[in-house]
Symmetry: C2
Subunit: 355 residues, 2 copies
C-alpha cells in the first residue's frame, strides 16, 4: 500500500444537476456521466491537490504522451444501493492494488491509497442520487490515469492525470453470446502487458473482434499467442469452463488479467463446495468435452456483466452449441454474488465497503 497524500480534496460543485434529464430506464452502458468528476495531477514528482469538480472536457496539448505512446490505465468498478439507501462498493482495495500494478508496468506513478479510495467515496457520496435502488441498477465507476506531459519522444511522461468518472448503468445484458476461439490473433505477449489494465490492450482486440462480429460472434476467447492451444480470457472478461461438475479457469499470468469478479467467483464457488481448478484448459480438451457431453457450461466473468453465459463456440470453422441447463453454475453464482453486492444476502467474505 502507498502512503496517503497530505492534500484534502477541494470540492467545486456544479450549479445544477442534469440528473432530471436522464432516462434511467433506458441507459446505454458507459454513455452518460454524472455531474461531477475527480481529477488530480502528478507533476514534479508529486501528486498535487485533488479536486472534485463539474464533469467537463479538458484541454490537452496535441503532443501529450497519452496520444502518442499510450501511457493510460484504468479500472472498472461499480457502486450498488441497498434497500436502506446505503451505497456500497465491492472490494475496492482489489482495484486499487491492480491499478497500481498496472501503473508500475506502464512506468507511471502509483496513486496514493486515499486519493483512490477516499476520493472515490467522496465523489460517489456527492452523486448518491445517481445510484438507483433495485438489483441490476448500478453506478459504474471508471478510475483512470493518463500521461499529460508533452513531447513526441518515446519516453515516459513526467506529468500524469488521475481521474474518476461515474456512469449510471442498468443490468448489462449482451444477448446470447457466441464466441470464436482465437487461432491467429492474440491479446497479449509473454513478458508483455496483458496482466495490466492498460489502454493499449483493448484497442488491440477491436479489429479481431470486428472480424468475429461479422461472422455472427460477439466475443473472442483468446488463446496463448505462441501455440494457440491454451484457452486464456475472453475479450473484456475472464472465462470459466464447467466440465462435469468442476469449474476450470486459466491461472492468472503475465498474459491474463487478475479479475476481481474472477477471484470472487472462485472463492464463492469453493464456499458452495463446487470444485474449482485454476489451470490452463486446452482447446482440444474443450472440444473433446463438448463431444462427449461432459462440457456443461462456459461463462465469462467481469465487472460489467458479472457473469455472462456463453451459448456456443466456434473453433477451426466448426460451431459447437452448448447444452441448455436448468441449474447452471453461472446463474447460481451470479445470483449469489449480486445478492452480496446489493446487501440482499449476508457478506461472509467482507467484500462490501460502505460509501
Amino acid at each position: 500500500m502507498n502512503p496517503n497524500t497530505t492534500h484534502a480534496i477541494e470540492v467545486l460543485k456544479a450549479d445544477s444537476s442534469k440528473i432530471s434529464s436522464v432516462d434511467f430506464e433506458n441507459l446505454v452502458f458507459g454513455n452518460i456521466f454524472t455531474d461531477h468528476m475527480l481529477s488530480c495531477d502528478f507533476r514534479n514528482g508529486a501528486w498535487e491537490k485533488p479536486i472534485i469538480k463539474p464533469y467537463e472536457p479538458m484541454l490537452l496539448d496535441p503532443s501529450a504522451k497519452v496520444f502518442h505512446y499510450g501511457q493510460a490505465i484504468f479500472e472498472g468498478m461499480k457502486a450498488y444501493k441497498d434497500d436502506n439507501d446505503e451505497v456500497w462498493l465491492f472490494r475496492p482495495e482489489q482495484n486499487l492494488e491492480r491499478f497500481n500494478k498496472s501503473a508500475v508496468r506502464l512506468a507511471m506513478p502509483e496513486v496514493p491509497d486515499d486519493l483512490f479510495l477516499e476520493g472515490m467515496k467522496q465523489l460517489i457520496d456527492l452523486e448518491r442520487d445517481w445510484v438507483k435502488k433495485g438489483k441490476g441498477n448500478t453506478l459504474y465507476i471508471r478510475p483512470f490515469m493518463i500521461a499529460i506531459g508533452t513531447g513526441v519522444v518515446a519516453a515516459p511522461s513526467t506529468q500524469y492525470r488521475f481521474m474518476i468518472i461515474l456512469s449510471p448503468a442498468k443490468s448489462y445484458y449482451s444477448g446470447e453470446v457466441k464466441v470464436i476461439i482465437a487461432e491467429h490473433f492474440s491479446r497479449a505477449a509473454n513478458g508483455g502487458i496483458g496482466a495490466a489494465k492498460a489502454a493499449g490492450n483493448y484497442s488491440a482486440q477491436f479489429y479481431p473482434t470486428k472480424l468475429a462480429n461479422e461472422k455472427g460472434f460477439q466475443q473472442i476467447i483468446w488463446t496463448d499467442d505462441a501455440t494457440h492451444t491454451k484457452l486464456e480470457e475472453a475479450g473484456t472478461m475472464n472465462v470459466f469452463f464447467r466440465i462435469n461438475d468442476t469449474l476450470y479457469t486459466a491461472p492468472t499470468s503475465e498474459r491474463i488479467l487478475d479479475g476481481v469478479t474472477r477471484k470472487s467467483l472462485i472463492q464463492l464457488a469453493r464456499s458452495l463446495d463446487i470444485k474449482v481448478e485454476e489451470r490452463s484448459v486446452l482447446v482440444t480438451e474443450l472440444v473433446d468435452a463438448q463431444k462427449d457431453g461432459s462440457l456443461k457450461e462456459v461463462f465469462g466473468a467481469g465487472t460489467a456483466a458479472v457473469v455472462n453465459p456463453i451459448v456456443g463456440f466456434s473453433y477451426a470453422d466448426m460451431y459447437y452449441e452448448l447444452p441448455k441447463l436448468e441449474n447452471s453454475f453461472a446463474a447460481m453464482l451470479k445470483e449469489k454474488l449480486t445478492d452480496i453486492q446489493y446487501k440482499i444476502d449476508s457478506d461472509p467474505f467482507g467484500w462490501t465497503v460502505k460509501v
Copy 2:
C-alpha cells in the same frame, strides 16, 4: 491507395510566429512545435473539412476512447532543406501506407491519401522557415490519429481526429548505445499489434527500458516472446547485425515494424554490393559470432537517429563489447542515406519528394 477527399484545406494563420524565440542550436528532440498544425475529424462515417490552424491545446471529453482503450496510431517522418532552400520529404508514401495499415489493425478509419500527403506538404510549406539548412537539421513530422468519440465501453470509437504536428530537430545523437537482449519482457505478441505503429506498443516498453537504463543500458533488443531466442527489434529502431561482411536483419512480421529506414538501408546496401540477409538471427549466433570475432557491427535503424551504432550488448548477465571499426557499414550507410535525403548526392531510387 485510398480515394482522395473532396474537401479543400481551410487555412487559419497564426497572428505571429514564435520562431524568433527558438534556439535552433540547442533543440531537445520533440519538445518544440511550429506555429501551425493540421487537424481533421472523422464523424458519421466520413472525413470532415481539414484545417491548418495555430498550434494549440484541444478540448476532449474525459471519456474519449483514446484515454481508455488506446486507439491511437502515429508516424515519424522528417523534412530536409537542401542548399537551394528547397524542402524535401523522404518516401512519404511509405509512411502513408504503413499509417493506414496501422489504422486497419486498430479498427480505425483509413486516412485519404491527399489528406495525408498534400495536407502534410501544405503544412510544411507554411512552416518552411522552421526547416534549417545543413546536414543534421530537420523538421520532424508527426502525423497521428486518435479516437475522440466518448463512452467507457470497450468498442471502437465512431469519431476520430487526424493531426500533423511539426517539431524542429537537430541531428539526433544519443551517445554511446549499449543494449540489453530481452530474456523476460517482450514488445509484441504473435497475432498482436507489433507491426502497427500503435501508441500501446510504446508504453509497454517503458518499464523494461527503465530497468535497462538503471543497469546502464540505453535500449533493449527485443526477442520473440515465445522463446526469447530470436533477435527482433530495438526499442524504437529496427536492428542490423554485421557478421563478417554480411548484414543480417530480422524479416518483417506481425511482431516487427516495417521500418522505412530499415528497408531503405537494405536497398542501399545491396546497391553497394553489400550482402544483406533478411532472416531471424538467434541470440546464440550473435554470442558465438562475438566470441569468434566474426561479429563486426550492430546498429539500429530508424527515422530519429537514421543509423545508431551499438557499442556493446548484454545477455544472460554477460557484457560483450563490440570492436571499434575504421570503416563501418553503419557510418557509410548513414552518410550515403543522409546525402540522398539532403540532396547532396543523386537519388537513384526516387526516394525524395519535393514539398
